[in-house]
Symmetry: C2
Subunit: 345 residues, 2 copies
Amino acid sequence: MSKGVNLKELSNRLQLSQTTVSRALNGYPEVSAETRRRVAEMAEKLGYAPNSQARRLATGRSMAIGHVIPRSIHEMMNPIFLEFIAGAGETYSKHGYDMIISVVEDDHEEDAYRQIASRKKADGVIIHGPAADESRHRLLREINLPFVVHGRIPGAENETSWVDMNNRRAFERATNLLLDLGHKRIALLNGLEHMDFARRRRVGFEDALAARGLAPDTGIMRSSDMTEPYGCDNAMEMLRSANPPTAFLVSSMISAIGVARAIGQCGLETGKDVSIITHDDALSFLPNSGEVPIFTCTRSSVRYAGQRAAELLLDHIADPEREPSSLHLDAELIVGQSTGPAPDR
Amino acid sequence: MSKGVNLKELSNRLQLSQTTVSRALNGYPEVSAETRRRVAEMAEKLGYAPNSQARRLATGRSMAIGHVIPRSIHEMMNPIFLEFIAGAGETYSKHGYDMIISVVEDDHEEDAYRQIASRKKADGVIIHGPAADESRHRLLREINLPFVVHGRIPGAENETSWVDMNNRRAFERATNLLLDLGHKRIALLNGLEHMDFARRRRVGFEDALAARGLAPDTGIMRSSDMTEPYGCDNAMEMLRSANPPTAFLVSSMISAIGVARAIGQCGLETGKDVSIITHDDALSFLPNSGEVPIFTCTRSSVRYAGQRAAELLLDHIADPEREPSSLHLDAELIVGQSTGPAPDR
DNA sequence: GGGCGCTTTCAAAGCGTTTTGGGCAAGAAT
DNA sequence: ATTCTTGCCCAAAACGCTTTGAAAGCGCCC
């Protein structure tokens, strides 16, 4: 309760050595029960808390996990990123780790990782938003910094630890649902396809079509930053075309909201004239629940992914010899109000 | 470029004392130009970077700023929070500071601050989302942890440093615009009114009405978490009532999108039959720009607020004697497509 | 040629922990 | 009666940096 007591003062007050006090507080066995009690009591009374810098220096572990986030990624993935962070943060604090976030200029990302390693700022990092031509994992391996990927690095699935949802499968199932409902012309509003997750989603979409002998029509397939206007503008354009799609498969709730707006502006009704399935990351400020969710969706909690990715990383730090391990999360396919049978024509 | 060189090795290699090497690298004057050059060269060659824990311990400054974010706040303010963080993060890295984020259970927030102070985890913190009955600033003062508030603490405006936008004024101006357009029945969809910012917005709204001799109708004023369904459900209910509003003043883009959806579902047209003005925090994934923005809005960049708040805090840490200083940002009032003259009736 | 000031360097003392390598009893085993 | 455990505790050495206080070298002045 009082201020600024350090280990030396505390042990003086107790007439004990720093060693014993330290051991008592850190739960080592070679301390008598009585002494441990006395120490705990006095520590509480004087409000002792170990200086974390000193402890980190002495133990050689920084007890922190780094997240480096280049401005551009953050612009793109903003809300998803935070939700992930929140999940990871819960795990960290549960295990006494700190989370340190570096916002860096895009071309300084590599520098940021090198600094984290050389200055010993963190014991590990999480790679966000792996691209199709990812290379960060090589750097991290080179500088010997443990990491876990949120998503997957194509070609390195077996040699890295990762947490990802089954993007391909989710979009395959979603497409199948639309096909089962009789939709023949399905538009795909995907995320940026230099990102690994977007590629996999597209493959799932195409696989489902191919399984029914349908060829994808690139005229109604788009790939971009997943903003609201992106959804609206592209849907609008397609709906006004000669041969409009009857269904949209959309990569994010935010864009899906844009699509719904476009449908409304065309005087059509979502779920009746035009169907939408979106991927729902279960963001807290965009709830899509209720008795019947507004959007039919593939849902996978990105916050949960954050928790688990953090756990994997912490495990890996605790035991560096362990083989890389991974978690493949399946998305739920949830039927809401935004889908219905394809209209007759 | 190589790994794990520390100061001792580096100075051995140079046949110099650690003192001199340290001084050379940290830019102290009492080092000859020639020596400084040699040191820099060798440091580069061996890839030396000072261990940050050791440095922090030696200097007594942790070179980090803490952001503690209780789960509940984060659920509410999710995207805004991240945008602020991103801004602050830019400032931190520019000044060599780390940003550490603690996600804590709601009832552990106070603990989190105490820990930051007693374990010396950060040199200062930022208070997010001040409430009407705020008390964190007292705790922080008691434990002597420098801080800056994002927003304002009612009653403590002069004794704390803060960065806030002029919420009252923004909503007053927005309301005036609607009144000027002939709207008489204006609904307010506000954020949670135990939050300071929401209160101020409501006051601005009421002031504008009062100035024209109008009394607010609490039947069309709501206060809640600013989600999309919140906007849609409440707008829907009001629009279907006997005496529906002709305009909505909304506290966030996300809810405004919900309102627009409700308007569409009622077969009405936004900007024609019903007007909307929303507050726009300039979130990157919800751009509201273009030639004519979709939404008429009061706009203020929360990312910019983050940058400036961080600067204020860093200044304050550098010179603890300095008087608290503050920044009052004015929101722009930007006319978009969602407003028009009140329909005749 | 001793004193003085200036520049440049160094050895050593922190910073606040953890950890290493004993030490000293008291009881157990030989 | 000696040697081994076992349980509990300690002094001192890390950890890798910054900073203090001193000193060496050198030119210059009186």
